[in-house]
């Protein structure tokens, strides 16, 4: 490990490369439990982990975040609202100056909860939707999930909840629906948030089929330049900046520098898309808690050195995209100092093609996917995402009798 001395002054993006005393943007996944089984789940969620943080432990994390002045956390999962103490932890965080933005599929947002949220300050709600139509959405998120999400949006709008977000992961299937998403979001008085699809968790299984094409990326970039001021992106499309004009926001991989993830069992990873032992910095249960992990872990110190070598630093566009997304490279088996698999200059495709044929991209050993059938389970391209256990050893494996073509879903 080498530590490079931080320069004084200069651009913020250069300062951020050296890290901060506390994260700007912290994601906290409260549980691996989820009622859905989305084919592209970044955290391979489904079943609760028995080691998940208790209510008291979660409160201690919030106390620490308050001391560190982490002004808000992005809460997710799994489906965070299925934790019985979710509403308590929400109030506890807000009472301790830690604002909460939480992502949900909407399952628990009935009228009463919507009214409760509308009355609460410093809470933001993000409803996940990955298709502007039930057909496109339900193929990846599961039958009925579009109806659940839009019902939640209705309840929130009716309760007068402000600044609701509709959170969309841009895929090959929905990249053509951006205007429809905008219209849908406007209909509920909400704001659209679109983010990049990464090959993380179960996303790795469907990335080849679902990640946007180069043409779609160019269209997305043009769309963002035209609509960017009305749409949130979590700065997740910074790799598109290499197409020309920089997109608004932080054009930098923030992993371990300005962002990190606390997972349901308290493990701290460099970013929500990097649940893998290579990016595990420590656990909030360790001595010194989260603060010590953030400020003193060796992994994060390493990530806080600006990239100085590798193929990308020689590229004319390096200053625009900074080599792209670490997690996307890692889970497609590309070197971390080389191009992003979706490099808009085409270097990613070349790198993917040049991979060793024997190479097996790294996989996370952390998998909480449902092991049995799930109600309404997604049928992306007609292939059930989760094998039915009884068929595992059978020559009929893959022929799920419950399968319906997506168009009928």
């Amino acid at each position: 490990m080498t530590t490079v001395e931080r320069p004084v002054g200069g651009r913020l993006v250069d300062q951020f490369e050296y890290g901060l005393d506390a994260p700007i943007c912290l994601t906290w996944e409260l549980t691996y439990a989820c009622n859905l089984a989305c084919v592209h789940c970044l955290s391979s969620s489904g079943r609760r982990d028995p080691r998940e943080l208790s209510t008291a432990e979660a409160e201690r994390v919030i106390d620490e975040l308050q001391r560190m002045q982490v002004f808000y956390v992005n809460v997710g999962g799994g489906e965070p609202t299925v934790r019985p103490d979710f509403w308590h932890l929400l109030d506890y965080a807000i009472g301790h100056d830690v604002g909460v933005k939480f992502s949900t599929n909407g399952i628990k947002l009935d009228r009463a909860r919507a009214q409760q949220l509308a009355r609460t300050d410093y809470v933001d709600v993000q409803i996940s939707l990955d298709g502007a139509t039930a057909e496109v959405n339900d193929a990846v998120r599961g039958t009925g999930s579009f109806a659940t999400a839009t019902r939640a949006l209705e309840n929130l709008a009716e309760a007068g909840m402000k600044d609701v977000k509709v959170s969309v992961v841009v895929t090959r299937e929905n990249a053509g629906q951006l205007d429809e998403f905008k219209a849908l979001t406007d209909r509920y008085g909400a704001q659209l948030r679109i983010t990049r699809f990464r090959p993380s968790g179960r996303g790795a299984d469907v990335w080849d089929r679902l990640h946007p094409t180069q043409q779609q990326q160019r269209e997305l970039y043009a769309w963002l330049l035209a609509n960017g001021d009305q749409v949130l992106t979590g700065d997740s499309f910074f790799h598109l900046s290499a197409l020309g004009e920089a997109l608004p926001g932080l054009n930098l991989c923030g992993a371990g520098r300005v962002v990190c993830l606390i997972d349901p069992v308290g493990d701290v990873y460099a970013c929500p898309f990097a649940i893998h032992e290579n990016f595990l910095a420590g656990n909030v249960r360790d001595e010194g808690g989260f603060q010590r992990v953030w400020q003193q872990s060796e992994l994060f110190a390493d990530l806080r050195n600006p990239q100085t070598g590798g193929a990308c630093t020689k590229c004319a566009h390096f200053d625009a995209c900074r080599g792209g997304c670490m997690a996307a490279k890692f889970f497609t088996g590309l070197p971390l100092d080389g191009p992003d698999p979706e490099c808009v200059q085409g270097y990613g495709e070349t790198a993917l093609a040049a991979r060793d044929r024997e190479l097996v991209p790294p996989r996370s050993h952390i998998d909480h996917s449902h092991t049995g059938p799930v109600r309404g389970q997604p049928t992306l391209l007609g292939i059930p995402s989760i094998p039915v256990k009884i068929c595992d050893e059978s020559p009929l494996a893959g022929l799920d009798p419950r399968w319906r073509p997506p168009s009928e879903g």
Binding site: D21, F71, D121, D229
Partner: protein, 100 residues
């Protein structure tokens, strides 16, 4: 993004008393500070420690201009600091103080 009508409450006038907005928290960082508004839920950055000192000291001085002098901001730096404070006023990170 609605433009305010009538007298602009966030127009920055350095000859008036100002303060860090009450709904704003400031977190020191090696490069300066992070400012977060619990009101607007916007995040902003102060890019130098001297600017952090200025924002913190606003409430101790009769005017913003006097704060700049007290914090040792030179004539040459002054326009950049006035612009930075004007930006912070526009984003409601600092607010006009009632009593001088």
């Amino acid at each position: 993004m609605t433009a305010p009508t009538g007298p602009d409450p966030v127009a920055f006038d350095p000859s008036l008393p100002w303060q860090k907005a009450r709904s704003v928290a400031l977190r020191p960082e090696p490069f300066g500070a992070l400012v977060y508004s619990f009101g607007t839920r916007k995040l902003s950055f102060l890019k130098s420690r001297q600017l952090v000192a200025v924002v913190t000291a606003l409430s101790d001085h009769p005017t913003a201009a006097a704060t700049l002098v007290a914090c040792g901001v030179t004539e040459a730096q002054r326009p950049a600091y006035v612009k930075a404070l004007a930006d912070l006023a526009r984003s409601q990170m600092i607010e006009r103080r009632e009593t001088p």
